[in-house]
């Protein structure tokens, strides 16, 4: 029987509901454990004139304090470029930057002490926004351009042209479990690190580099995270490194768990963008040329901004064919925290821009935006992207038409028009938008994974792979994949924590690739063992290996049925190796960044959503009243898990575009640094009518694991439909208007947009 394509519960579901699931802070505390806290800068930009840590050291319970001077290796945690200090040396570049770390006997003692430093700064006027950085030509990396065709000429001859601009805010991950690491010094001078991280290998490398040790001296382990969303791809580095520095200094185990406010001030977020478009199109609204200029706020260092901005550029077409295009992006350096990966990794910002300029075209022409969307989709003969990749498996035309019909878009469009005509204050809006999201790390070498599988003599299996579990259901999917190879109950496959000592040189669990990569690697390991067992059984029964079948926990050959456990035991006795590694690298992909040309993606994951909203145009308050989603997860490995990713991603995206607002004061301090001030969606924000379907015809035409498609990130961008539905509702206030609405669409922004429309501005 097939063990995949089944809705198994999350492997830890019972541990979750009973409170038995252990997160890093729940691990039994080692003897002599010290607790750490971080001292943060209270200045956004400037030189440090004096740093007096006397009061910190003298505070009750304090055992050790580390500053940049105590770093034996390199003072850097930059994941790609080496431009981000662990601890500030002579200057600070954002409010909340780490100056020092302190270890004490209790959490409270450490946190109290961390607030006692006497710091004098020579403050400089900070660059806080994209505009300020652009004006000052302050960049973390050089700009980058993708180009196809003659944009100037195509714009010049286009029957219609428009220019538009959109600002979109960043987003805090708000993983429920904050950043944490627990570091234990080992007797050989090495360190064992428990970290809530999506990237154990990078934690290993960074701890080793900062401590001046070989990588092999550091082992990193993580069983599960309480949410990651990209926020634990690089942002755990600092936490683990600080705990390791203190552990090294004291020779004692050290735990650093950030409180929520520190977490939100100290660690990076989704990039906010300002995007400008100039677009030429015909009478139907078909695009002839696009000139796009994106600018992202990267913060003080590059972190992953190179790849994030590239991904924004890769998605500036979303699902639409651009005959001529120039996409140019700036990576702005500001005196704010270094922005980082967040579910979608720049894709959402690129895609929101695309859906915005399409909406502008439709409104300028007075057409239903859905018609303009449909007529711009990729299609036969219209299938090369601005980075010269051919779109092969183009499912969206069919998928969108199906959604249009099932959600009764046209009828509801009419009903909404009628409703708005008689309702002066409450206005409704509707939008149906597609998602086409490129799957693969665009940094090609990251598209590899390893696994390690053991079979014990009783037939139980022990699986390890390079992926990390943050709630997305990776472990249960890989468990199913391995169980399927042997056709044994998934419960026989024991999942072990991700550990750099078992599978080395892993890529981050990111880019939605966790299952594609690790599932394949684990399957590869399982097939190796299966082949060994089949050969062994075949030999014993004078059969060919092809005749050996694995069925429901048994091995069948020539009419003999052997229990799987029995086969394992006999294989052991016959000295067959029952342990194997597996490896996978994604085929077909290549990309020449200098030319901005190639096939960066193995395939695209697609979906579409139709959202309906209601807006109180007098106060700006609004509600999402109905959402219909049709999403292509290929042949889903686990439909329940995938549905969870779709719903959760959608609601998270809705938060990004509506209620989640990051607000800095003039001095450059982030003032929304806790859930009291930073508002992610609650249960009430989920629409009463919420239809989510996996596309039944979905099947990956590439040879992915069981023909499934990655599903972690793409659904977040389905929520763009909510933003455009809000814009649609506003547009009803004045015929042929192009409402000026930036994201997030807070009540305030909506009210100003409504007021401008009413006043004819």
């Amino acid at each position: 029987m097939s063990r995949v394509h089944q809705s198994l519960a999350h492997d830890s579901a019972v541990q979750h509901v009973t409170g038995r699931a252990r997160y890093t802070d729940d691990l039994p505390e080692p003897k002599g454990l010290l607790h750490a806290a971080v001292g943060l800068s209270q200045c956004a930009a400037g030189r440090i004139m004096a740093l007096d840590l006397g009061p910190v050291r003298n505070s009750p319970g304090v055992v050790a304090v580390v500053t940049a001077a105590d770093i034996p290796g390199v003072n850097d945690i930059g994941p790609v470029f080496h431009d981000e200090p662990v601890l500030a040396t002579d200057r600070v570049d954002y409010w909340g930057q780490a100056l020092f770390a302190v270890a004490a006997t209790t959490v409270e003692a450490a946190r109290r002490a961390a607030r006692l430093a006497q710091v004098t700064y020579a403050p400089e006027p900070p660059l806080l926004t994209v505009d300020q950085a652009l004006a000052a030509a302050s960049f973390v990396l050089p700009p980058h351009t993708m180009q196809k065709g003659d944009v100037e000429a195509a714009l010049a001859t286009a029957p219609h042209r428009l220019a538009c601009e959109l600002r979109m805010g960043g987003q805090d991950h708000f993983y429920l479990e904050g950043q944490i690491a627990l570091v234990l010094p080992q007797d050989d001078g090495g360190f064992l690190v428990y970290s809530s991280t999506q990237h154990p290998s990078e934690i290993q490398h960074k701890v080793a580099e900062v401590l001046g040790l070989p990588s092999a001296a550091v082992t990193v382990e993580v069983r599960r995270m309480g949410g990651g969303f990209g926020g634990k791809e690089t942002q755990g580095n600092l936490i683990a490194v600080l705990a390791a520095l203190l552990a090294r200094q004291t020779g004692r185990p050290v735990k650093l768990r950030l409180d929520r406010d520190t977490d939100m001030e100290l660690t990076g977020k989704r990039h906010d963008f300002k995007s400008r478009f100039e677009v030429g199109f015909d009478d139907e609204g078909r695009i002839l040329a696009l000139d796009a200029e994106l600018a992202a706020r990267c913060g003080l260092s590059a972190d992953l901004s190179a790849a994030i901005c590239d991904r924004a550029m890769f998605h500036t077409d979303n699902a639409y064919y651009l005959p001529a295009a120039r996409i140019h992006a700036h990576r702005c350096k500001t005196h704010t925290v270094s922005n980082t990966a967040f579910r979608g990794f720049g894709g959402p910002q690129g895609m929101l821009g695309a859906e915005f300029y399409i909406d502008e075209i439709a409104r300028q022409l007075g057409k239903d935006p859905l018609d303009v969307r449909l007529s711009n989709l990729y299609g036969p003969g219209r299938d090369t992207t601005p980075y010269h990749m051919q779109v092969e498996d183009n499912v969206l035309p069919e998928l969108m038409l199906e959604l249009e019909a099932t959600c009764r878009y046209r009828q509801r469009r009419q009903a909404i028009t009628a409703f708005n005509a008689q309702s002066p204050i409450i206005k409704r809006g509707l939008a149906l938008t597609p998602v086409k999201f490129g799957i693969s790390f665009t940094v090609t070498h990251l598209n590899q994974a390893g696994a390690l599988l053991h079979i014990y003599q009783d037939g139980s299996l022990h699986l390890n792979h390079g992926g990390t579990e943050m709630g997305q259901g990776l472990f249960v999917k890989v468990q199913q994949i391995v169980a399927d190879v042997f056709d044994v109950p998934p419960a026989w496959v024991h999942l072990s924590p991700t550990n750099t000592g078992k599978v080395p040189n892993t890529s981050p669990t990111a880019a939605s690739s966790g299952t594609d990569l690790n599932g394949m690697a684990a399957q590869n390991a399982a097939l190796t063992l299966k082949d060994r067992l089949a050969a062994f059984v075949a030999e014993r029964h004078q059969a060919s290996p092809e005749e050996v079948r694995f069925e429901q926990g048994e091995v069948v050959v020539r009419g003999n049925r052997l229990a799987f456990a029995e086969v394992a035991r006999r294989a052991y006795l016959a000295r067959i190796q029952l342990s194997a590694t597996g490896f996978y690298k994604t085929p077909k992909i290549h990309y020449d960044r200098d030319q901005a040309r190639g096939r960066p993606f193995y395939y695209f994951a697609c979906g579409a959503a139709c959202s309906e909203v209601a807006v109180n145009t007098a106060t700006g308050e609004h509600r999402t009243t109905r959402v219909d989603i049709l999403h292509d997860a290929g042949r889903s490995l686990n439909p329940a898990i995938d549905q969870g990713q779709i719903e959760g991603g959608f609601v998270q995206g809705m938060g990004w575009l509506t209620s989640e607002e990051l607000w800095w004061n003039e001095a450059g301090r982030l003032m929304t640094h806790a859930p009291s001030t930073y508002k992610i969606p609650t249960a009430r924000d989920v629409p009463h009518t919420f239809h989510v379907s996996l596309w039944e015809r979905g099947e990956n035409h590439e040879d992915t694991i069981h023909r499934s498609k990655a599903v972690g990130e793409p659904p977040l961008m389905l929520a763009i439909s909510v933003f455009l539905a809000l814009r649609d509702a506003l547009a009803s206030l004045r015929p042929h208007s192009r409402p000026k609405l930036d994201a997030p669409a807070t009540p305030e922004r909506i009210l100003w947009a409504a007021k401008a429309l009413r006043e004819g501005r």
């Binding site: 009973t18 802070d25 509600r623």
Partner: protein
């Protein structure tokens, strides 16, 4: 401080510091790590536990509360149930847990113990399962992974599943223990929880420097976020008079330490618009602890009930030592977070005049998020009119000045004026020129003015029978 309580059915005798909070004690001292910390400020619900006490009939009642900001002293003589104590002894899952598993309602699982506990209390009282009630119930539990749909489904499914009998079968044991403790001497030294009003008044007057604690939903944050430490806490929650709510002398008399949860049904009876506001104040978890007295004591310009008290012409009964006096609420707020209450004094009771038949109360709370958000602007209006003329008008407003305030010039424009849109336009203009709000992370000054104007116009429209309400359902 030495206290006693039941933890998952077992008696605990605990020695702790007066400002020790329950969550830290559970995780660090008791080693129960199922209850999580997500924020330490009452906003995420990862720390939810059920707190059991006896209701008026003496029956066991479980209420969900935020352990992160609950002082350990507040659980003295009560029962605490954590996620570890929900399943049967043999490991059989409770219906709530089963439903969450069946509906695939956990992803990372970090929020899950909190949801289990909130849903457990709902299961215990066989709560309503319509969507609005569940939204109210869950507003204080954030989940960043699932998008809530499966959790809502689990909430409904749990009530239909069999099991969980142990909790009902063994409730009598808890009741017996809590009753036995009821006669224990009140907590003293460090964490003082007097049982009668005079003892409280005397103690406070004698120790004006002590922390006066009601629900702790403001004060708890001073410990978790400001890292303050209190050697002397005086808790109001054990004084029965202070928790009483009843009608007398034409007023609803609300004991200052009555929780919002207890106030809600009374508000629903007399002022449905006030009840609607209370449902948006904090969350179920916060309302199970938080009190009207605490809102007054904090006297924040964005305290949500305060404009309502102003609009309703509430009278406060104040107490200092032996002295007891009354004060109209509009004379209570002196300046930013400064009140007319002398140090060592406290609010005993809030008297709300019962509404005459011609009174309409309208409340608008504008915030970035509907649930559990601090208001950018809150406007409460109480009009008496005969359909043609407005006889009296009271407008309480929050978020627009250093204190909650009455919008007196707008009131003046309304009183005696005809009930027409033009009257309200004039009043709204007066309102906007009366205040100079601030710009901050919640809203700009301009937006506050604009939203306040709109709120007053909507109150006017409602008085004229034309309520503006956001629909919850799609168009067709």
């Amino acid at each position: 401080m030495r206290l006693r309580f039941l933890l998952n059915g077992a008696v605990q005798e605990v020695e702790a510091h007066p400002s020790r909070l329950l969550l830290g004690w559970l995780r660090e001292t008791a080693g129960l790590t199922g209850t999580k910390e997500g924020c330490g400020e009452g906003d995420c619900g990862a720390c939810t536990v059920a707190l059991g006490d006896l209701d008026e009939e003496g029956a066991l009642r479980w209420r969900a509360v935020n352990a992160c900001i609950l002082f350990l002293g507040q659980v003295d003589g009560k029962a605490v149930l954590t996620v570890e104590g929900v399943a049967q002894g043999d490991g059989t899952l409770h219906p709530v847990q089963q439903a969450l598993v069946q509906q695939h309602a956990s992803q990372c699982g970090f929020c899950t113990p909190g949801f289990v506990m909130t849903l457990f209390t709902h299961w215990w009282r066989l709560g309503p399962t319509d969507r609005a009630s569940l939204d109210d119930l869950l507003a204080g539990n954030l989940c960043r992974c699932t998008g809530y749909r499966p959790i809502l489904d689990a909430a409904r499914a749990a009530l239909a599943l069999p099991g969980g009998d142990r909790h009902r079968d063994e409730a009598w044991r808890i009741v017996r223990q809590l009753r036995a403790w009821h006669d224990r001497p009140p907590l003293a030294r460090g964490f003082v929880a007097p049982r009668n009003l005079d003892a409280l008044a005397d103690h406070l007057a004698a120790h004006p420097g002590a922390l006066l604690l009601a629900g702790g939903t403001d004060a708890g944050l001073w410990v978790t976020k400001d890292l303050r430490d209190y050697d002397h806490v005086v808790h109001l929650g054990e004084v029965a008079e202070l928790r009483r709510i009843g009608v007398a002398d034409g007023h609803l008399q609300v004991g200052a330490a009555a929780t919002y949860t207890d106030l809600l049904p009374h508000a629903q009876t007399h002022w449905p618009a006030f009840a609607d506001l209370l449902r948006r104040l904090g969350s179920e978890l916060i309302r199970n602890s938080a009190t009207l007295g605490g809102n007054l004591g904090s006297a924040s310009p964005i305290g949500d009930t305060l404009p309502v008290l102003l609009a309703l012409d509430a009278t406060l009964v104040l107490r200092h030592g032996e002295r007891r006096w009354t004060l109209p609420v509009d004379r209570f707020f002196l300046d930013y977070k400064r009140t007319a209450l002398p140090k060592g004094g406290f609010v005993e009771r809030i008297d709300l005049p019962l509404p005459p038949p011609d009174l309409t109360l309208h409340v608008t709370k504008v915030a970035k998020r509907f649930d559990q958000d601090i208001s950018a602007v809150l406007l409460a209006t109480a009009f008496r009119h005969d359909g043609h003329t407005i006889h009296t008008a009271r407008i309480g407003i929050g978020g627009m000045a250093a204190t909650p305030a009455r919008a007196r010039s707008a009131e003046a424009r309304l009183e005696g004026a005809p009930l027409t849109p033009a009257t309200f336009q004039g009043a709204a203009a007066a309102l906007a020129s009366e205040f100079q709000p601030l710009t901050d992370l919640r809203a700009s000054a301009g937006y506050r003015l604009e939203a306040a104007r709109a709120a007053l116009l909507q109150a006017g429209a409602a008085a004229m029978g034309d309520e503006v309400a956001l629909p919850l359902e799609p168009v067709a």
